[in-house]
């Protein structure tokens, strides 16, 4: 078989089985004597549980709740903290909180039982919005002030000094909404006992997270639990920590029942009762001189977290660290607050906190530019940070920043400057531009201090097996990683195996998150392969490597100072629109993007990520509206929570720049989240120009555009 070269365009290794419907997902799996589980959930956002009345259970049916957690166990899921309860006990904090599991063999019977569960509550006043959370409506949910987490970063001179020198101050608040992941495959997991160990089959990004999160429920260690990832049909962050919320109750049930138990959410459950992207309210107060130059920015970033921390503090940190966008602002102070509310907990979603602040800073910069009569592209480009430039966390940009070249690519391709000057504000036509980045991998020294990722290659005859904890979830990682191994070893990709991980076999490579898989785990596999290639003649052997942090990049996780990220992906996007004069529907007529991802390991996969990320971002900006009324999400299906179809947007023109990254495999950096981070702002910029009004929130469906037009 021919050797695979890194630049070969190849068919994804999982394409055929998925396209033909042959891939087996967790809901396709069945075991002898398998039972089914249904979740009994809270129907109110906040209150005391007075009583739980379960209909009489036939033989072979169980109701599992906090009462079934054994003495040696604790009712907590260990995500980052241990505050998220496996089962609500005594009170409930959000609609959809797990109260119990109904388990049995016949789903018709279970459905009947579920429909006849009667829970009595004493309802309490919930806090739903960010403002209600900040105002401690109904009394504190967490601590005394509902602040779940907070931090600040500062750069340059004190803000009072900077603002004293300002000729003008421009302050505005920008808001972003909930976003639902809508992975094609809903959440699901099966628990069973294999070889005397509790074993999960789960649709999940991070099998090792599940082990850690649930073991304490039975007083066990993570190693006592085995997690086998099943082919995962999309995740986008929605299967990072959230599978813990399914697997925890399943483990408690398994402890009692000791038969295989399957829990699969239907689409409505997955919409109503799963984590979402954090809604955000971001206020920038910017000091300007008389010519419109920025002297300093004072920002406050507030994320709606729901009542439990889950990944929120890390999300908030990333949000704050991206709050200056791609700009070198001389003086900044940004405060981040994660506020507790009685909504379903917010958690990871592609971009992980960065999209909210990037949307806000892009929109804010663009508003300043327009107020002073500058073209937004030209104005923003004055502030592009450069290699060695000081970041918002007093660290430095390590790599060469090629934003000016990227901007030229897309402005030339789209004829941006001509259109920007020709399309008059309010003419119905508009073109918009945005710049963005995404810090690859875990923040600061997290890869070294927290994860310590491992990867292993095993050689058997002429075949090589990759053993890592990283997962394929549709993003193409099985292809990417096999390609890295094959190209390094000088063998065919067909001679490299990489199965869905089983935690009892593979080493922990860290979570499949944070755009770290290619950059970090890919580099580990490359290093393993380099050694294996040298020793190829030694017969059957394996090579395992641990992550090594590049020297000379200080980071203090207590003060949030230093090099927050060692490599950023960079992006530039232009969107052109026409706004229908009668209906205010927006037609996107052109999309151009350029990304610096170091090096594309597989151009077809990267193309898919660019297309998908941009469409998902445009959906976020335009139509994906998830409303929460009194704690209940109003959108419960794919017909009322609409995501873009292939009909919405035109063919994209996309560019990549070659800018190899020193510590990535073949020079590759993270890219999965980057491509989500900026089309939203370009779209809103374009719509603003087309309607001749400023916009301060997303999403912006036609009825909200109407409202903007009629304001004042």
């Amino acid at each position: 078989m021919p050797q695979t070269a890194i630049d070969d365009r190849i068919v994804r290794v999982d394409a055929t089985s998925k396209a033909r419907g042959e891939a087996k997902y967790v809901s396709d799996l069945s075991f002898p004597d398998m039972q089914y589980a249904y979740m009994v959930r809270s129907s109110i956002p906040r209150g005391k549980i007075d009583s739980i009345s379960i209909p009489e259970l036939p033989e072979g049916y169980w109701f599992i709740s906090a009462d079934d957690i054994p003495e040696e166990g604790k009712n907590e899921l260990w995500m980052i903290q241990k505050d998220w309860r496996c089962f609500a006990e005594g009170d409930v904090k959000y609609v959809g909180e797990t109260i119990g599991l109904l388990v049995g063999s016949d789903r018709n019977v279970l459905r009947y039982l579920l429909d006849n569960v009667d829970i009595k509550y004493t309802e309490e006043e919930p806090a739903i919005t960010i403002d209600e959370g900040l105002a401690v409506k109904g009394g504190p949910i967490v601590g005394e002030d509902n602040v779940l987490c907070q931090l600040f970063v500062e750069k340059g001179r004190p803000m009072e000094e900077v603002f004293r020198e300002a000729d003008s101050v421009f302050e505005e608040t920008i808001e972003t909404g909930f976003q639902e992941h809508v992975h094609l495959e809903t959440n699901g997991a099966i628990v069973t006992i294999e070889n005397g160990k509790y074993t999960f089959y789960a649709s999940a990004q991070c099998p090792f997270y599940i082990r850690k999160a649930v073991a304490g429920l039975l007083g066990l260690q993570a190693e006592d639990i085995v997690v086998k990832q099943t082919t995962t049909g999309g995740a986008f962050g929605g299967k990072e920590h959230f599978p813990d919320v399914l697997c925890g109750p399943l483990l408690v049930a398994e402890h009692k029942i000791r038969k295989p138990i399957k829990l699969i959410f239907d689409r409505e459950e997955d919409m109503l009762y799963s984590v979402k992207r954090h809604p955000a309210k971001i206020t920038y107060k910017t000091a300007l001189d008389k010519d419109g130059n920025i002297l300093g920015i004072d920002g406050v970033v507030v994320y709606n977290c729901g009542p439990y921390l889950s990944g929120s503090f890390v999300v908030l940190q990333r949000g704050v660290f991206h709050a200056n966008g791609v700009y070198d602002i001389p003086n900044t102070h940004v405060k981040g607050i994660g506020i507790a509310t009685n909504t379903f907990p917010s958690d990871a979603f592609r971009g992980f906190g960065a999209p909210q602040t990037l949307f806000a800073i892009e929109t804010h910069m663009e508003h300043i530019a327009k107020r002073f009569g500058f073209d937004p592209a030209e104005y923003k480009s004055r502030y592009f940070i450069k290699q060695g430039g000081e970041t918002i966390t007093n660290g430095h940009i390590v790599e060469r920043v090629v934003l000016p070249e990227m901007m030229k690519q897309v402005t030339d391709a789209s004829d941006y400057f001509r259109k920007a000057s020709e399309y008059r504000p309010g003419s119905g036509k508009g073109i918009g531009i945005s710049f963005y980045n995404h810090g690859g991998a875990f923040t600061g020294n997290g890869e070294q201090a927290i994860i310590k990722a491992h990867a292993r290659l095993v050689k058997t005859g002429d075949r090589v097996r990759i053993e890592v904890g990283s997962t394929e979830m549709g993003q193409g990682f099985q292809t990417t990683l096999r390609k890295i191994a094959a190209a390094t070893l000088g063998i065919s990709i067909d001679d490299v195996d990489y199965d869905n991980p089983d935690t009892s076999i593979v080493p922990d490579s860290g979570p499949t998150a944070a755009s770290r898989s290619t950059m970090i785990v890919g580099r580990l596999v490359e290093r393993c392969a380099e050694e294996m290639k040298e020793r190829w003649q030694e017969g059957d052997f394996s090579v395992e490597k641990e992550y090594e942090h590049p020297e000379g990049h200080p980071w203090d996780q207590n003060t949030f100072r230093g090099d927050a990220y060692l490599g950023y992906g960079w992006g530039c996007c232009i969107v052109e629109v026409e706004v229908d004069k009668l209906t205010k529907e927006v037609k996107v007529t052109g999309i151009w993007s350029s990304h610096d991802i170091g090096k594309a390991i597989d151009e077809l996969i990267v193309h898919g990520q660019v297309n998908g990320g941009i469409v998902q971002s445009l959906g976020y900006a335009s139509m994906e509206k998830m409303e929460n009324r009194n704690g209940h999400f109003r959108q419960s299906s794919m017909s009322d929570y609409v995501i873009p179809t292939s009909m919405e947007f035109p063919t994209q023109q996309w560019f990549l720049v070659d800018n190899p990254y020193e510590w990535g495999p073949f020079g590759a950096k993270g890219m999965g989240e980057l491509v989500f981070n900026g089309a939203d702002a370009a779209y809103i910029d374009a719509v603003e120009r087309a309607i001749g009004k400023e916009i301060h929130k997303i999403p912006m469906p036609p009825e909200d555009i109407e409202e903007v037009l009629n304001a004042e």
Partner: protein
């Protein structure tokens, strides 16, 4: 939980309807969704159901001698969209319903019987003064669709009746307008829809009509508002425009997004009338951005 019957002839279905009150289930795109119970579980209906998809008498589209078109209750949106005898407004609405799978499965009878204010087909049918043919063991009766749909999810269907067909009388419009605003471009429930049509001869507006979907508990037609325009000369449109738009605005009663729905309806109707006044070429009025 109700029984499920599968009649194979219309007379059998009518008997089941009369004796058991069984509800007709055809494509199932409304009933199956409304009564869904989750993965791997069949819907449970709180009433008896009869699956009527095998009944040939309810199928097919045909031209009648008087120039009308009769569409059987089991005809799908895909068949309607592909028909060359169904009037343009109805074909447009059928072509924009849901996704392809839904258009191949849903039926015109179901879309009417479900009587959702967001239903796609009733809106243009009411514009065209379509009638429904209702059948029962006692015989048949015809009534205007506009009278048949009483409100959101409410119809004049008798306990022993089923919808047999829809009859659309012939029209020869000089100008036609149709627009559906969905939540996205494909596979979308209607956020708002509007049909309008006019017959103009020698500068006189002989007929003028409009119908609004998703703008109240039922499709809105207002003969009072239409009469403000109808019978007048094209050159009078500017002076009639405001009172017509005001009358139409008073006729609709959107619950959610009232501002958007009212303003957009006003702009679309205003555009249609202005186009006529400005001497647009006869045919479809479609707006240029």
């Amino acid at each position: 939980m109700g029984m499920t019957y599968i009649p194979s002839t219309l007379s059998e279905a009518l008997r089941l309807r009369a004796e058991k009150g069984a509800k007709p289930l055809a494509g199932g795109t409304d009933l199956m969704v409304q009564s869904k119970r989750g993965i791997a579980l069949a819907p449970q209906f709180p009433f008896d159901v009869m699956i009527i998809t095998a009944i040939d008498e309810l199928k097919g589209i045909r031209a009648l001698d008087d120039g009308s078109v009769e569409i059987g209750a089991l005809v799908t949106p895909s068949e309607i969209a592909a028909s060359d005898i169904v009037p343009w407004h109805v074909r447009q609405a059928a072509a924009g319903m849901g996704a392809i799978a839904l258009r191949n499965t849903a039926t015109i009878g179901g879309n009417i019987g479900n009587a959702s204010p967001k239903g796609d087909l009733p809106q243009p049918l009411i514009l065209l003064d379509a009638e429904v043919v209702l059948a029962s063991v006692k015989g048949e009766r015809r009534m205007l669709l506009d009278d048949f749909i009483l409100g959101s999810k409410k119809t004049a269907l008798g306990d022993d009746e089923i919808i047999r067909s829809v009859i659309i009388p012939p029209h020869d419009f000089t100008y036609s307008f149709y627009r559906k605003i969905g939540m996205r471009r494909a596979n979308a429930i209607s956020k708002l829809s509007l049909s309008a049509a006019a017959v103009v001869k020698d500068g006189e507006i002989l007929d003028f009509r409009a119908s609004s979907g998703a703008s109240g508990p039922r499709v809105i037609r207002s003969k009072d508002a239409e009469s403000i325009i109808k019978g007048h000369m094209v050159e009078e449109i500017p002076e009639l425009m405001d009172s017509f738009l005001e009358a139409w605005n008073n006729a609709i009663s959107p619950h959610a997004m009232p501002e958007y729905r009212r303003n957009t309806t006003r702009r679309m109707l205003g555009y249609f009338l202005s186009s006529i006044h400005e001497g647009a070429s006869p045919g479809i009025i479609s707006e240029e951005v």
